[in-house]
């Protein structure tokens, strides 16, 4: 199994490696991946269907419980067959759809990686490995949607899809970890067999996981990214945005639906409501499209809603119907997308209002479309009808509102299916410039893939047994019970048939009167547009986020050095102060100090404070000297004659340097200080902090064992009587090494800056 994933990666790498030569044949190379999966799945089918899942584990980060646990049961198998089957057809189609171009191989490689990731999702038993593949599909989807990257609209659609599904994915990750925490395992098979006890954490986990599924499968209110994703080249739309990726969310809710229903009683109602709203909104909006591809996209939204509620419900009969419909949907929708691709390819447009005469010029494509659309509309004698029957059958006996809503959506499906056919192959609208095929005959190469898929939709209608076992076993795999559902061409006079007939009949009536439908759609449409769609929210939220980012950074990151420093020193004061405030122990007062200290202190303090006020450079130099030499004096008192001398020396050097630089700087040492008061407050705060901190440290003065042992060891151990020197060159020689290094680096820096600066000054005279 893992080998199949490796094949995808290898195929993608091979394409990239030979990208200069491979051209559009890249897709044929890429098709090796889905093909291998298909063959594998067919060979494993009997064993897996018999109830022995295929299991494999690959370690990654065991300490984080991060492994790839693959487990292919009948449920996975159903998805695998859909992904691989649609994949092979679409890859072969794409190899003819594109013309050789430099961007094509990259696109093909990305799509191959995507195919592998998609396989990864459905064969993973480990929640985290699902997430890994899940995000991989998000990223590849982003790259594929943005294929026409010179178009701003493609870029923005790619971003929209990535952000929405990315956000859902991250929420889902949180949910996964919470769920695994509660259940004690990341393995779905464990979680399903031993569900976690209900708790707040588990509720939150389900919600977050649901969020991931809802965004990925384009459910209301997050569905708006999917129509946008139609910016992708048609093969990608057919593969990602109808047959596979958008099914990932459905796959997930199907996997966990039964367990979620058992541990959270809100799960099923929420799934049902979300699914129904999506279904109706999608169907409704499909009626209003003039772009064939967008029409299909909204149709997909609608179908996804239906699949979502059926498969996510956790109830065996609904899951059964849902899975049957899942297969049907993959067949007809992928076929229809490819039909649109062919039309676009041949006629140069997908606009219903302009397409004309294609029925005669592209008969093969026309009949393919008829077969697929019939299956979509659930016309009897198609597999779409068989599957829809099974779905209705599951809904019968539930609340009537639910089945009525499903019927309403079915009516919409009939109408938009007809709209698709008539729009694509009927005459152009009056007043529009007609667009006929530019190439006179449809290239047969573009015909085969959709024809095979659409044909399968008819053949399976007559031989539903071919999928019955698959769907049945898959249902058992996730719900634990057999649905006892039927997949038959003629169900007998059951209520479900009534609902199907009703949907078809009403749909047919509406189709027969297109002007009135359009008028009604237009009238209700304005009303419906006022409903929140999620799309509007996204389009408002993104600029709002950007503005917020600008504002907040503008305030914090205002570019002013004094402001940065003020914040830093205030935080440095506030945090420690907060720690001691309240339980401040009584402070011991240190000795006042000898008279000489006070005298030097007066000198230093006086000079320092004067530095604030003086304007003349000469005075600055004098005052700096006063401070520095005063401190040198203090050091002498404190028992550091060597230190005092060094201070004198360094201070003299520093002042000389300073005087030299000041000589070149602007004449007055002056500036108009604004906001003097806040600066004084900050300065006083820092001063008081140092003072208080010093008192506090003095109160808790520790012993001087280390110091005394230096004094004791200096002569016998290090053979030196000046202990400070001994420390510098011996005990702590590494400090001195660092100090010298700093001086070397500083010298280099000074040279690098001062030499060119002085040269310029000299030039200016």
């Amino acid at each position: 199994m893992a080998g199949l994933l490796v094949i995808h990666i290898a195929a993608a790498l091979a394409i990239l490696w030979w990208r200069g030569r491979v051209g559009r044949r890249a897709f044929l190379v890429g098709s090796v991946g889905p093909l291998a999966v298909l063959v594998w799945a067919i060979f494993q089918a009997s064993g897996i269907s018999a109830g022995t899942p295929y299991v494999q584990r690959i370690g990654w980060v065991p300490s984080l419980d991060l492994t790839f646990d693959l487990r292919v049961d009948a449920y996975s198998l159903a998805y695998l067959l859909v992904i691989a089957g649609a994949g092979v057809a679409i890859f072969i189609y794409a190899a003819r759809y594109f013309s050789d171009g430099s961007r094509v191989p990259t696109f093909a490689a990305t799509m191959t990686i995507f195919a592998g990731a998609m396989v990864g999702i459905v064969v993973s038993d480990h929640l985290l490995s699902i997430f890994v593949f899940w995000e991989l599909t998000t990223i590849t989807s982003y790259l594929l949607i943005g294929y026409d990257d010179h178009k701003a609209q493609a870029r923005s659609a790619a971003l929209h899809a990535a952000l929405i599904t990315g956000a859902g994915g991250l929420a889902m990750l949180g949910g996964f970890v919470l769920l695994a925490d509660a259940a004690g395992s990341y393995l779905i098979s464990d979680i399903v067999s031993q569900p976690p006890a209900a708790s707040t954490a588990v509720t939150v986990a389900w919600l977050l996981i649901l969020l991931g599924a809802v965004t990925k499968s384009a459910q209301f209110p997050f569905h708006a990214w999917l129509p946008g994703a139609m910016s992708a080249p048609t093969p990608a739309s057919a593969f990602l945005h109808s047959a596979t990726m958008v099914k990932a969310g459905i796959f997930l809710v199907g996997r966990l639906g039964a367990t979620a229903t058992a541990t959270a009683d809100w799960w099923q109602p929420v799934i049902l409501v979300v699914g129904f709203i999506t279904m109706v909104i999608g169907g409704w909006r499909a009626l209003r499209q003039t772009d064939l591809k967008l029409l299909l996209a909204f149709g997909t939204v609608s179908q996804l809603g239906f699949l979502f509620l059926l498969i996510g419900s956790g109830s065996a009969k609904l899951v059964f119907g849902g899975l049957a419909l899942l297969v049907a949907h993959a067949l007809f929708k992928a076929a229809l997308f490819m039909v649109v691709g062919t039309i676009d390819h041949q006629a140069g447009t997908r606009d219903i209002r302009r397409l004309s005469g294609l029925r005669r010029s592209m008969p093969g494509t026309f009949w393919t479309a008829v077969a697929a659309a019939a299956s979509m509309a659930a016309v009897p004698l198609t597999y779409g009808f068989v599957a829809k029957e099974a779905a209705f059958d599951g809904l019968v006996g539930k609340e009537t509102t639910m089945i009525a809503a499903a019927a309403a959506a079915s009516i919409l499906t009939v109408v938009y299916s007809a709209r698709f056919l008539i729009g694509a192959f009927g005459p152009h609208e009056p007043g529009q410039e007609p667009a006929g095929p530019e190439a006179p005959v449809a290239r047969s190469a573009l015909l085969w893939s959709p024809l095979v898929l659409a044909g399968a939709g008819i053949v399976l209608g007559f031989a539903p047994r071919l999928v019955l076992g698959l769907v049945d076993n898959a249902t058992v795999a996730v719900t634990g019970v057999a649905a006892a559902g039927k997949l038959v061409l003629w169900p007998g006079l059951v209520p479900a048939l009534g609902w199907s007939a009703l949907s078809l009949a009403v749909g047919a009536v509406l189709v027969a009167r297109p002007p009135r439908v359009d008028a009604a759609v237009g009238a209700v449409g304005t009303l419906a547009d006022k409903l929140p769609t999620g799309e509007g929210t996204y389009r408002r939220a993104l600029p709002a986020l950007l503005t917020f980012a600008d504002r907040s950074s503008g305030i914090l990151q205002n570019g002013s050095l004094p402001a940065y420093i003020a914040i830093i020193v205030l935080v440095a004061v506030a945090l420690p102060a907060a720690a001691v405030v309240g339980d401040l122990p009584p402070l011991t007062r240190p000795p006042g100090g000898i008279a000489l200290e006070w005298m030097l202190g007066a000198l230093i303090v006086g000079a320092a404070i004067s530095l604030v006020f003086v304007r003349r450079r000469f005075a600055v130099v004098i005052l700096l000297g006063g401070v520095g030499y005063g401190i040198a004096g203090l050091y002498a008192i404190l028992g550091g004659p060597d230190l005092s001398l060094t201070q004198l020396l360094v201070e003299t050097l520093a002042i000389a340097l300073f005087a030299f630089v000041l000589r070149h700087l602007p004449g007055t040492f002056n500036e108009a200080v604004t906001a003097r008061i806040p600066r004084i407050v900050v300065a006083l705060t820092v001063g008081s902090f140092v003072f208080a901190g010093g008192l506090l440290a003095n109160t808790f003065r520790g012993g001087r064992a280390v110091a005394d042992s230096y004094l004791a060891q200096a002569v016998p151990e290090a053979a030196g009587s000046n202990v400070v020197n001994v420390i510098l060159v011996d005990f702590r020689g590494f400090d001195t090494l660092g100090e010298i290094t700093v001086l070397v680096a500083a010298t280099l820096g000074v040279a690098g800056l001062a030499v060119p600066a002085l040269r310029m000054l000299r030039r200016e005279g």
Partner: protein, 133 residues
């Protein structure tokens, strides 16, 4: 530690902070110098106060022997601070030569962003052709 020493250190920090909070680089450099004087002094104040030098065999007249370690630290710190101050002075010189000013200017890009008005960078919505009414 003596009260006098601590007061001096506190004042050096206060005045240093005040100067550092200004825009003229020469004043900022002075401020930094005062702050590091204050910090060095604070390290020295960890010792007992007036003391005799930590030289074995010297006679200090009854004063306690100073702790040699802070002195070693301050010696190192003084030299390091000197090196960096010299670098900063060279930087000030270079800056003046380049810009003709001694002031630390605000970051240009930051100011641009704090003034920026984002016209929505979201590209136009997908063209969804709706049925004409």
């Amino acid at each position: 530690m003596s009260l006098a020493g601590l007061l001096i250190a506190a004042v050096l920090f206060a005045v240093g902070t005040y100067l550092v909070l200004q825009r003229m680089l020469s004043r900022v450099i002075i401020g930094l110098g005062l702050m590091s004087h204050g910090a060095n002094l604070l390290i020295m104040l960890s010792g007992p106060g007036p003391a005799q030098p930590p030289v074995i065999g010297a006679d200090g007249g009854g004063l306690p022997v100073a702790d040699p370690l802070p002195q070693a630290m301050v010696l190192t710190a003084i030299v390091i601070t000197f090196g960096i101050t010299a670098f900063l002075l060279a930087l000030a010189l270079r800056s003046y030569v380049l810009t003709g000013s001694d002031a630390v200017e605000d970051d240009i890009e930051d100011r641009r962003i704090s003034r920026a008005k984002h016209t929505a960078e979201v590209t136009p919505p997908l063209e969804v052709h709706e049925v004409a009414e």
